[in-house]
């Protein structure tokens, strides 16, 4: 404890906790820091052995020997990194797990549900088939599904989908007429289980020609969506495109084709692939984007590493002024290329005079520069270009551009404000001298 009791009391009594608003964060942060300091000051007294208590907090009260951690260890071990092995040794991984506390309960719920003791009990077929109420807790426990099958061939469509929903093996082969197949599909759809709908669709896809399948699905939207998703997942791109073509969904067709480029790693192949996308029936605006995408890749390949003029890119891709300036500004500021920043806002008129212009407004320029840690001299330059006097003063004060503040008050002939500002600059600094010089100047006719 390095504070005396008196200190602490003084601290707590003097701090007032006000409602928080997001704009006076300085205040709140300092408040937070105070609390933190106070808490940290307790540390010497508190810190000792049980450092990792927190990792074990768990509302069910059980200690968790992390599985995720263990898997990382396996990976580290098989990857045979030195570090990994060291870690393994020091935290004596697998060998020591047996020493971890045993699970709190030896009483097994599953044995209760199965109505018998745990280890490897085998159930007779008749047991498994009788629908005892208890089984619904854990419907599949105790009956590995492959072990019994129902070869009955005369399940009705509704019985069939119900069995499918339960995950039971169930032959669909007897649904041979189109009518039977469609009835089966409709039963599946009306039951709402997507897994069953897909199961029936897999069967239909295998036993119907694609024209017939597509035709029937066109008027069954729910089933159609399931088929589309299924084809996407298993990656049957050819059938998917055929389906979109059949449905006359040209835009989806184009997008689906375009999506494939995401899986192509090689830049040249990717570019070639994009070329095949250019003529596809996208919407008018997307067509332009695809064309741009292709042009971009083409250019990236050509310029590789050589200089490419940003202005040229801006023209080719019709990048709006604002977007261009924001991007270029952030990029140049990061590189601390202040001359480039300057050039970005300099325009020449026909007489050759230069003028500063910013399509985003100089107040934004200042903020962006500040975010990129621009020095005060640079900030100052742009703060000065802000037209609105109040905004200018605000920014200048916020970013401590003293010269701008002082000059502005001088121009406003505001003696009071200047006097007030004097207390904010460092004692004996050049700024203070400048203010003093101004205040004692007889040249200025102060308004107050």
């Amino acid at each position: 404890m390095n504070r005396t009791k008196g200190d602490e009391e003084e601290y707590w009594n003097s701090s007032k906790f006000k409602a928080f608003t997001f704009d006076d964060e300085d205040d709140e942060l300092s408040q937070l820091k105070e609390s933190k300091r106070a808490v940290n000051s307790l540390r010497d007294f508190v810190d000792d052995d049980d450092d990792d208590d927190l990792e074990r907090v768990s509302w069910s009260g059980e200690p968790v020997g992390s599985i995720s951690w263990s898997i990382r260890e396996t990976a580290g071990n098989s990857g045979s990194t030195h570090e990994g092995r060291e870690q393994l040794k020091s935290r004596n991984s697998f060998s020591s797990y047996a020493q971890l506390p045993k699970p709190t309960s030896t009483y097994s719920l599953s044995s209760f549900f199965r109505g018998r003791t745990r280890p490897g009990s085998f159930q007779s077929l008749s047991d498994a088939l009788s629908d005892t109420p208890a089984k619904s807790y854990a419907p599949e426990l105790g009956r590995p599904k492959g072990e019994y099958r129902d070869y009955s061939n005369d399940w009705s469509p509704s019985d069939t989908v119900r069995r499918l929903r339960k995950g039971k093996v169930c032959s669909l082969e007897r649904f041979r007429s189109l009518q039977d197949k469609l009835q089966l599909l409709e039963e599946a759809v009306s039951m709402h289980d997507g897994n069953v709908i897909t199961a029936v669709l897999i069967f239909l896809k295998r036993t119907l020609s694609k024209e017939i399948l597509f035709r029937e699905l066109e008027v069954r939207q729910v089933a159609l969506r399931h088929l589309i998703h299924f084809l996407k997942e298993i990656g049957d791109q050819k059938l998917l495109l055929d389906l979109f073509r059949f449905l006359d969904r040209t835009e989806e067709l184009a997008l689906s084709h375009y999506r494939e480029h995401l899986n192509i790693q090689d830049p040249d192949k990717r570019k070639e692939f994009l070329k095949t996308c250019v003529g596809l029936p996208f919407s008018a605006e997307d067509s332009a984007h695809i064309q741009d995408h292709y042009t971009l890749l083409e250019r990236q390949i050509i310029i590789e590493g050589t200089f490419s003029s940003p202005v040229n890119l801006k023209k080719t891709f019709k990048i709006p002024d604002k977007q261009y300036v924001l991007t270029a500004l952030a990029a140049r500021a990061k590189l601390r290329a202040w001359n480039d920043v300057d050039a970005l806002f300099t325009t020449k008129n026909w007489l050759g005079y230069t003028k500063k212009r910013a399509p985003i407004g100089f107040h934004r320029v200042v903020e962006i520069l500040h975010k990129n840690n621009a020095p005060v001299q640079i900030l100052q330059e742009y703060v000065n270009l802000v037209e609105d006097v109040d905004t200018k003063l605000n920014l200048a004060t916020k970013f401590k551009c003293h010269d701008v503040v002082i000059d502005t008050y001088r121009d406003l002939k505001d003696r009071q404000q200047l006097l007030a500002y004097r207390s904010k600059v460092d004692k004996g600094s050049a700024e203070e001298e400048k203010i003093d010089a101004l205040l004692s100047s007889s040249q200025i006719r102060w308004k107050n």
């Binding site: 602490e8 808490v39 599985i67 263990s70 506390p101 490897g120 854990a138 998703h229």
Partner: protein
Amino acid sequence: MAFPHRPDAPELPDFSMLKRLARDQLIYLLEQLPGKKDLFIEADLMSPLDRIANVSILKQHEVDKLYKVENKPALSSNEQLCFLVRPRIKNMRYIASLVNADKLAGRTRKYKVIFSPQKFYACEMVLEEEGIYGDVSCDEWAFSLLPLDVDLLSMELPEFFRDYFLEGDQRWINTVAQALHLLSTLYGPFPNCYGIGRCAKMAYELWRNLEEEEDGETKGRRPEIGHIFLLDRGISVSDVDFVTALCSQVVYEGLVDDTFRIKCGSVDFGPEVTSSDKSLKVLLNAEDKVFNEIRNEHFSNVFGFLSQKARNLQAQYDRRRGMDIKQMKNFVSQELKGLKQEHRLLSLHIGACESIMKKKTKQDFQELIKTEHALLEGFNIRESTSYIEEHIDRQVSPIESLRLMCLLSITENGLIPKDYRSLKTQYLQSYGPEHLLTFSNLRRAGLLTEQAPGDTLTAVESKVSKLVTDKAAGKITDAFSSLAKRSNFRAISKKLNLIPRVDGEYDLKVPRDMAYVFGGAYVPLSCRIIEQVLERRSWQGLDEVVRLLNCSDFAFTDMTKEDKASSESLRLILVVFLGGCTFSEISALRFLGREKGYRFIFLTTAVTNSARLMEAMSEVKA
């Protein structure tokens, strides 16, 4: 601060039973493959598994080594391989490549695939096509309800959202129905059921089917939970409910989720939070006493609370001055441990707050929130649009930019075509042209649309109506209906008073309504609907709202006689979110519960937030 529950608030059922059930099922399944085996676990299942079992349990059941399922050849030399996976095609291909490589090398081993929470026929089809059907045995581990907290159950199925709301695939609906069935078997029947949304209705019907088939089990049981409320994330065809999930979160738990990402109930606090050189994985739940008191608070109240706490802690430590030996002994043996624990938690949450503050200050959070509020209230649309434009141009964050565009689109019933084109173009130029696939997804899901000029809309409508007149076509597709039957966020928010009128400042310290979770600017639609329906015990008088939500066919109630339900159970409400819920919604309902003497229990397919929603819609390189 940290509103206590009312003294008459009902007790929550004990959900830890679900963990034991899942663990015992897993043990049983592992025993089905007797002898030593290596276990391959899918990455997404690792955190949930960590919450119910540990390595020693696996070791006890002869699991030798653990591997992550990833696209790499397996180094395992074990004679038995067990795979614990989600039912995904890519997992089947991975397993097939392993098995087929073994076959080629003339090696025979035993393989077992355990699907969690269930297997899909499409997976079996792939096993068949790859020629390994029969070589591997398949099982299901019906682990679909993970208690993340005393009042929060998660199915840990984030893919539910994309599968259903984007692709229209209903594969998870049966999983939800099974989970509800399990709950009613364990905790008794639910006397009152309410729901809204197409998916909610389907899940409800399938669940009812299940109960009928296995009739008799829940009969005679005393209900422990009096009400169940099912609702869709984007309340079916309307999509306006996405607004809630798209807003920046400002209650502590939500903010922690937005900033650090809470994963399966725990969060990794990096060195910037722990103020040491290591990261710390921390469970966030009611057991953490400090967290529990601030989790539902608006962020602005959190500092004051933590300072107060720090002061109290200091005072408690100070008591030891002037203690005699005996008192000191008592202090050390009885109080010190608790104080130390509190001290650790306190410094951790102070660190988290500090880090949040730094990040939010850097990204001009104030201005962002201002824009969101303007969008919600529908003023200064031009200004907001150019704010978003600048956000894109400065390449602040692809996900954030997308989120703001969606918020603009939903609150304004679509972007005007000129803005849509210009924002999209700039977005593609800022973040990559392949995102035009993302835009296509968002349009299909109704999250980001273009206001159709008159003739385009008619064309779409005529195409849709052609399909609709065909009786077999049934319902219109979601995609078209989101275009043709636009919902109106403004009308709904007016009707349900979602944007409270406030005279003067909204006092966030003493919230008057659920809007406090968004700084007083907006009451989450889902929560308001639940409040209204519970008040009426039906949808009566809410016809206009239901109509505006385009849910006339998908709002339902089902009440049974309540004679068996205790008055306590009738104040317990299970809310089921299909497609995910946010911590803000959870906080809002906890607040409502305290006001009305209810307690809410949350069941969600996954905890979500705006970033997760946007990522689910994004198409980028694999």
